[in-house]
Amino acid sequence: MIALFLRDLKLSMRAGGGALIGVLFFLTVVAVIPFGVGPDMNLLARIGPAIVWIGALLAALLGLDRLFQADRDDGSLDLLLMQEAPLVLTVFIKCLAHWTATSLPLVIASPLMGLFMNMNEVSIGAVMLTLLVGSPAITFIGAAGAAVAVALPRGGLLVSILVLPLSIPVLIFGVSASYAAVEEPAPFLPPFLFLCALTLFFAVIGPLAAALALRNTAD
């Protein structure tokens, strides 16, 4: 299993552009928003956490649709499916590797974005923390979509459509926790804990659904 993790990590570093593409996309999104809202620094700071979260969400989608497709195309997916090891675990490990290669860099880069958006320290910290906790959920949901996409010849966009609605709750709680950290009356912990719960929930549901889909559509 560790072998699988390392292989996937190596592959996305080497072939997919890995970390950089996500971060660049993230940067692009963040760079464009100020044009919309104008140079109003306060407003920027206000919508900052939301924008960073949306950017991260969208960046996580790039490449997610190929999570299993690449393995299918060269036949390794078949071999992964045959093993005694529970398929759910295999999927889980692949998700982890994907998260490490693409979302983790985003989490690490998010303070930079925060600075661009004129956010203060607490707010930056909160966004980073919520991203760290919340972004795996998106990967796990995405895995379910990607597994479905394998069955489709060119399922990329379809996956995002299926994934985005499900990721809305994650986004809501992520953003509201980030806001709660700054704005006084709202408490930080409840939405944050809810976010953690969501991630745990999807960490179970996502791989399960993905495994189900993979088993049912191989041919």
């Binding site: 560790i2 072998a3 592959l11 060269d74 078949d78 992964l80 045959m82 093993q83 191989a218």
Partner: protein
């Protein structure tokens, strides 16, 4: 050790491709599938490997003293696609499969170097897999069968793209595997040069119980 298929039927699309097939392969035996193009050889192999769920029946693997288990867990599958990453080097690929596939009771896998030696390409394991010629790629896919032990080898037209020498090498490899107690299921259009092999001829779609299906 025994691989047993009982009452096996499978569909392709919406139609039955074969129906109520029974066979049983014992330790040291091979089963060779023949039949014209499109007759269902690959489909049968993929059913055994567990990719396609059969319409009826099941395939089980049993070794002495243990419970029977799904056949796929005891199998190596060598299909049309090699299951190797073009971006990684040959040895990275083989190392990954060795680690990931792990062991299986009743045998041990060779090391990467030994396996590369057997297939006669030990000098180029450092190259990226994508740089190899078709036959070389195929031969390294065969090396995968050696680095992790599995009693059953499922081979779908294994010798396509091989030159005469490699062909002989592969026959020897399969014979060796059988001699040491393994089993093999192979679909080929060219003789594999095995002695104690059962033959099963596939015939293509069965029409008579179409109405059950819809």
């Amino acid at each position: 050790m025994q691989l047993k298929a009982e009452n096996l039927s499978a569909k392709r699309g919406e139609d039955l491709l074969f129906r109520k097939l029974n066979f049983c392969v014992n330790s040291g035996e091979a089963l060779v599938l023949t039949g014209r193009n499109g007759s269902g050889k690959s489909t049968l192999l993929r059913v055994v490997a567990g990719f396609i769920r059969p319409e009826s029946g099941k395939v089980t693997f049993q070794s002495q003293g243990t419970e029977s288990r799904p056949a796929r867990e005891a199998c190596h599958y060598l299909g049309h696609r090699n299951g190797m990453k073009a971006e990684l080097s040959v040895s990275e690929n083989l190392h990954f499969w060795k680690d990931f596939l792990g062991g299986f009771e009743g045998g041990t896998g060779l090391s990467i170097e030994e396996a590369a030696d057997v297939i006669g390409l030990s000098s180029i394991t450092h190259l990226p897999y994508g740089y190899l010629s078709a036959g070389q790629q195929r031969r390294f896919a065969m090396a995968r069968l050696l680095v992790a032990y599995r009693p059953v080898w499922i081979l779908d037209e294994p010798t396509a793209a091989l030159d005469a020498k490699a062909d002989a090498m592969f026959s020897a490899m399969v014979r060796n595997h059988l001699r040491s107690g393994g089993m093999a299921l192979a679909a080929t259009h060219q003789p594999l040069g095995l002695d104690n092999a059962q033959q099963l001829e596939m015939r293509g779609f069965e029409f008579d119980d179409l109405e059950e299906m819809v």
